[in-house]
Symmetry: D2
Subunit: 356 residues, 4 copies
C-alpha cells in the first residue's frame, strides 16, 4: 500500500510536535505538509519550532517549509491532523473539510457538533456512522472527526466494560493532571513546583459532558443520544510531566456489583477493534494492576507506547458502588496518539483514502 | 503563671522535631525533657538528631541529654507530648498515664479506645469529658488524649459547620497528601518525584472512621456514639512537601443545600473555643477562598502559622449535593500543632496542671 | 521618628510584590504609592495583581489605587523602590531621580553607570560616596542606587572576608539557580520539572563583572576602580523555588591559604555596618556550616528572614586554592530585601530623608 | 552464534534491575541466573523484587528462582554481571573470578586494583590488556573488569578527544547528579524535593581519581601509569530522576585552544571501537549541541538508548582555558549499560566466551 499523504495543522505547537513524532516511521502515513500561523509560515520547521519533545526532532521534518493553514497551501494532502488551539481551529478546520480534506482533530471546537463523531476507537467505533450526515462537504469526501479531552479517554475506556456489563449510573472523578496538558509554555513553574492547583479552567465541564456522548448511541438521523449518567468532576493540576491519574467512584444500575466482578469484566473485555490490528492500537487497551500502589504516572504512562489505559485498586465504596484508579497518557493516548488511532480506523473503514 | 514543664516522647523523629520547634518560646510550656529510643538515650539532642526542620535547631534543646521514654527518667514533667511511632507508643504512653503523667499524643494507638478522646478543639471540645472515665490512672491525674490522622483534621474542620447546619450524610474524599506525612526518611524520592502514588497504607481506613468519632457525641458512660455518615476515602501521595489537599464531595440530610448556603455557613461559623484565646489557636480556624484556584499548598499552608484550614471552590455536585476543596498543614495542624492546641485546651479546662 | 513615605515602581510584578511584603510593618518606611504600567493604572492593587507570595496580600495595600510610574503621579513620596523590568526602568528611574526623588532599584540598567553605586551594605558601604557625583539631579537630592544581580550577592558576601584577608585572584563559580529568579510567569514548568537547564540568558556576564565593581574602590572622582579578579561563571537553572546555591572555587594572591584559615576568617569577620543596627540587616550576614551537606536551599534559605548568606564545605582545591558552597535567597537577599537594606543605609547616612 | 549464558549478581537491586532490562532481547547474551542475598534466595524474582524500572518487569525473568551469589549456585553461566553493593561485592566477585567465571562489575571495589581494568570502551579499550596479569584465576579464564563511577563516564568521554588533541592539564567539575544514582530507597524525598544537596558521600574522591586511570596507559607489567591531570570535583544532588549534568572547566598543556578548536575536535572524533559495531555501542558516543541551553537531562538523557554522552556550551574560560556542559545517563551509560558494553568488547576480543 502506498502511504497516505498527511498534513499537520498547528505543527509547531505542543500537540503538533507530538503528531510529528508519532508520524515518524508511521507504516501508513507520510508527512508531506506542516502548517502553522502566519508568523511561522515560510520558515523551515526547525527554525519555527521550539522543540519540547524528549526525543530529538526527526530529520525528515527539519527542512520542511512551514505553510499557512489553508487547503490551497496544503493541496497535496489526503487528510490532515489538527493540533491547533481551539481559538483558531473552528474556521480553518471547516475550511479544510469543505474543500474535501478530512480533518482528524484534537481541538475541542466540534466535539459537541451534532454530526461530528467524538471518537475513541475502542469505545464507540460505530460513531463514525455520523460522518455521512456532516454538512461540511457536499460531495461527501471532507469531514471532521474529533477525539475527546485528555481526561475523558482514560475515564471512558475504564468505564466502558463496566457500563456494558452493569450500566453506569453515577460517576465521581477527581483528576490529578500533568502539566503537559496545558501545552507550552503552559503552567508556570512557580505555580506548580511542589504544589497542587485545585482548578483547571473549563476542564470539568468537558469531563462531565464528553463521556455522555462517547457512551451514547448513534440514531438513524446521525445524531447521538447521550448516555444517561450523572458525572461530577474535580480537576487538579499536579507536578507531573505526563500522565493524568484519576480517582474514580462509580455507581451502577445493576445492584451488588463487587470489586471482583468489575475486575473480571475489565480483564475479560475485548476491544471491538482488536481484530483490525490498527498500527497504533495497543494490544491491551485496558490493563488491571493487582498492586494497589499501581498504576503510577512515572512507572506506567508509557506502557504500550503511551496508548494503554491502566486501572487499579478496584474496591467497594461505602457511598456509591465501587472506587478505582485510572491512568492515561494525556498527550499520547489523550491527544495526538488518540487522533492517529482515529485516522487509522477511518482508513480501515474507507473514510480516509488517497485522493485520485 | 509559671510555665508547665513538658517532655517530648519520640523527640528525635519528624513529629518530635516539630514539637520542639512549636515549644520554642511557647508562652505556657517549657521543654524540660526529650525522650527517644535506647539508641539515642544519653546523647545530646544535637548529636542524636538528624534535624529536618526548615528553621535551625533551637539553641535551648541542643545540649539537652536525650532520655529513655520512661516515667522515671522524665519524672520532673507535668505532662508529655508523644510523637512516637505507633509500633512502640502503646505501652509507653500507657506507662506514663498510669504514673499520673498526662499524655498528649499524635500516635494512633488509642484513637479508638472507648474512653480516650480523639480531639480537635474547634470540633469536639466536649469530648474531654471522656477523660474521667479512663482506666489508666486510678488517682485521676494521668490520662491519654489523641489527635486525629492528618487528613481528618482539614476534613472534619471543613465539615463541622456544614454538619451542624445541614446534617452530613455522605462524604467522598480524594486526598492529595504531602510526603512529610510519611516522616523521615519516609517516601523515597524515586517513588514520588514527578509522580503520584495511588495508595497510602492504612490511611483510608483512618479517614473513613475517625471523623465518625470526631463528629459523634459523648454519652453519660463516657463513650462516644459515632456520627452516622458514610465516608469513602481515596488517598494519593503527591510531590508536595507539606499540606494535604482534599477533593471533597458531600451529601446532606437536608434537601436543596446550595453552594451559597454552604459558603455562608462556613463564613459565619464561630469556633466553640474562640473566646478561650488559646495561644496556638488560629484566629480564623476555617477560611473560605473565593478564587477557585485557591487554596493551594504552596501559597496557603502556612496561613496562621499552619493552623488554619482553608476551603474553596464550593459548588453543586451533580451526583451528591456539593463539592469543594480543603487544605490543611499535615505536620502542624494535622499533627504536632494540633496536639499542642489540645494540651492548651486541657490546661484551660484544668485537666493539665503543675504537679504539686 | 516619623516614617518615610515610599513608593514602589513595578509594584504588581514579582519583585514589586516582594517589596510590598517587606514593607508590611517596616519600622522606618510606610508605603504610600504603588506604580505599574498603564494597563494596571487606575485599578485597585488587589485587582491589578496576580499575587504569588506565599503569605497573603497585606490588607493595607489591597485598596490602594495603582498609579502611573511618573514623579507627578507619585509626588508625595520621599523615595521609591524600583522592581521594574530593565526594559522600561531606564527612562523612568532617571525621571524620578531628575525630579529629586531617590531611586533604590533592583533593575540592572544603571549598575555599570560610572557614578551609580552598585551596593551591598556589608561589602562596600563606602560606595555611597559616589552619589554626590551623579548627574541626575542638579540640586543634589535625587539619585539612583542599585543592588547587584541575585547570584552576585552570596558570591561577593562570601568572598569579601577572604578578599580582605588573602586577596582573591581567581574565581570559578557554577550557580544552581531557583526559578523565582526569572519572575512570573518566568520558567515554564515543562522546561524545569525534574530537569536542569545549563543556560540563563545574560546571567553569566553579570556574575563575571558585577563583583569587580562591588570589590573595587571609589576614587576621588567618584568612579570605582574595579578589583582585579578573573571570574568565570556557569549559570544553571534547577528545580528549586527559592535560593541560589553556588559551587565556588577560588585562587588567592596569598600563598598556602588553608581551608581552616578561610573558615576562621569567615567566622571572625565583622560586617562594617554591624553597629548601625539597620532594621533589615541580619545579625550574622555570613554563616559557616560545619556539616558538609549544608547549606541547602530548602533548609537554610530563610535563615535571618532570608537575609543571611551561608557557606559550607570549605576545602582544598587541587586546581586553584579552595572550594566551597554558598547560598543566598535570590528574591530577598538578592533582590528586594537587599534594596530595602540599601535604603536603610542611605537613611542612616542622610542621603534619604523626609521631604520638606 | 549461540548466545552466551549470563548471570546477574545483585539482581534485585536498582542496578541489577537495569541489567535485567538491558538483557531483555540482547542479541548476544541470555540471562540464565539471577543472584541476590540470602534473604531473597529461593524466591521467584517477581516475588523478591520491588521493581522500580519504568517499563514493566520482563516476563522471562518473573519466574526465575533467585539464587545465592556463589559460583556453585550459578555454575551454568559463561560470565556474570555484578550490580552488588560495594559492601559485599569484594569477596563474592573474587570468588567467581577464582572459579573461572569472568565478572563484569559496576561495583567500585576493584577499580583501583593494579591489574583490574577500569574500562570505558570508547576511551581506553587497550586496558583490557591488563587482564592476563590478574591474580584471580590461575588458569587464565576468570577475571574482573570494572566500569567507572557514573560521573566519570560523561566526564572522561567528553575529555578524551580534547586530551588526545591538546593535553588536558587541569579539570574543575561541578556535578549536578540525579537521585537514581543513590539506588533505592536512596535519597529521601524530604531531602531533595525542591532542593539541592551540596554533598554526596565519597563521590568527589572517585571523580578526582578514576579519570587519571582511565586516561592513563598500560605498561608492560600490566599496570596503568595514571595520567597527570589535576582534578577538583564538587558533587551536588539535584531533584532530577536520571541524568548527571556536569559543569566542566578545563586547562590544556597546549596554549591558545579556542572553543571552536575544541568543538571541532569533538565533532570529528571517531571512537576507537566504532568499527566493531558492538550491539550496545551508540552510533555517536559523543554529541555536541549548538543550542547553549542543551543538553538537558529531561530532553537528551535517553538519546541513543541512554548510551550517548552529550556536550554543549563550549566557551572560553577567563580562568582556565575552556568551559562546557556535559551530560550522561547515570544508570545506563554510567552503570549497567556501560558494563554491558564492556562485556561486548570482551566477547569481541575473545576474553569472554562460552564454556566448553
Amino acid at each position: 500500500m502506498e502511504k497516505l499523504k498527511v498534513g499537520v495543522l498547528g505543527a509547531t505547537g505542543a500537540v503538533g510536535q507530538k503528531f510529528i513524532r508519532l508520524l515518524d516511521n508511521h507504516p501508513w502515513f507520510t508527512l508531506v505538509a506542516v502548517g502553522a500561523s502566519e508568523r511561522s509560515a515560510g520558515k523551515s520547521y526547525a527554525e519555527a519550532t521550539h522543540w519540547i519533545e524528549t526525543s530529538e526532532m526527526p530529520d525528515f521534518v527539519k527542512e520542511m517549509t512551514v505553510k499557512n493553514c489553508t487547503p490551497e497551501a496544503m493541496a497535496d494532502v489526503d487528510f490532515v491532523f489538527s493540533g491547533m488551539d481551539a481559538a483558531v481551529a473552528g474556521e480553518i478546520e471547516k475550511d479544510f473539510a469543505s474543500n474535501g480534506i478530512p480533518v482528524v482533530t484534537n481541538a475541542r471546537v466540534y466535539r459537541r457538533d451534532n454530526h461530528v463523531p467524538l471518537l475513541v476507537p475502542e469505545v464507540n467505533p460505530d460513531h463514525i456512522g455520523q460522518i455521512p450526515f456532516q454538512r461540511f462537504d457536499s460531495n461527501g469526501r471532507g469531514f471532521i472527526i474529533t477525539n475527546p479531552n485528555c481526561v475523558c479517554v482514560p475515564l471512558v475506556l475504564s468505564l466502558k466494560p463496566l457500563h456494558d456489563a452493569f450500566g453506569v449510573d453515577k460517576v465521581l472523578v477527581t483528576s490529578m493532571q500533568a502539566v503537559s496538558g496545558a501545552g507550552y509554555p503552559g503552567v508556570p513553574s512557580l505555580d506548580i513546583m511542589g504544589n497542587v492547583v485545585p482548578n483547571i479552567g473549563g476542564e470539568e465541564e468537558k469531563i462531565m459532558w464528553e463521556p455522555l456522548k462517547l457512551l451514547g448511541s448513534v440514531g438513524d438521523n446521525g445524531i447521538v443520544s447521550n448516555a444517561s449518567i450523572a458525572i461530577q468532576a474535580s480537576a487538579y493540576r499536579v507536578p507531573v510531566v505526563e500522565g493524568h491519574l484519576l480517582s474514580v467512584t462509580v455507581g451502577f444500575k445493576t445492584k451488588n456489583v463487587s470489586a471482583a466482578d468489575a475486575i473480571s469484566v475489565i480483564q475479560n473485555w475485548v476491544s471491538p477493534i482488536a481484530e483490525l490490528n490498527l498500527p497504533s492500537a495497543p494490544k491491551q487497551p485496558l490493563k488491571y494492576f493487582e498492586d494497589p500502589a499501581h498504576p503510577q504516572p512515572r512507572l506506567h504512562v508509557w506502557n504500550e507506547r503511551g496508548m494503554q489505559v491502566s486501572v487499579g485498586k478496584m474496591r467497594a465504596s461505602g457511598v456509591l458502588d465501587l472506587a478505582f484508579t485510572a491512568l492515561g497518557h494525556n498527550t499520547v493516548r489523550g491527544a495526538a496518539g488518540g487522533a492517529v488511532l482515529n485516522a487509522e480506523l477511518l482508513v480501515n473503514k474507507g473514510y480516509i483514502k488517497a485522493r485520485a
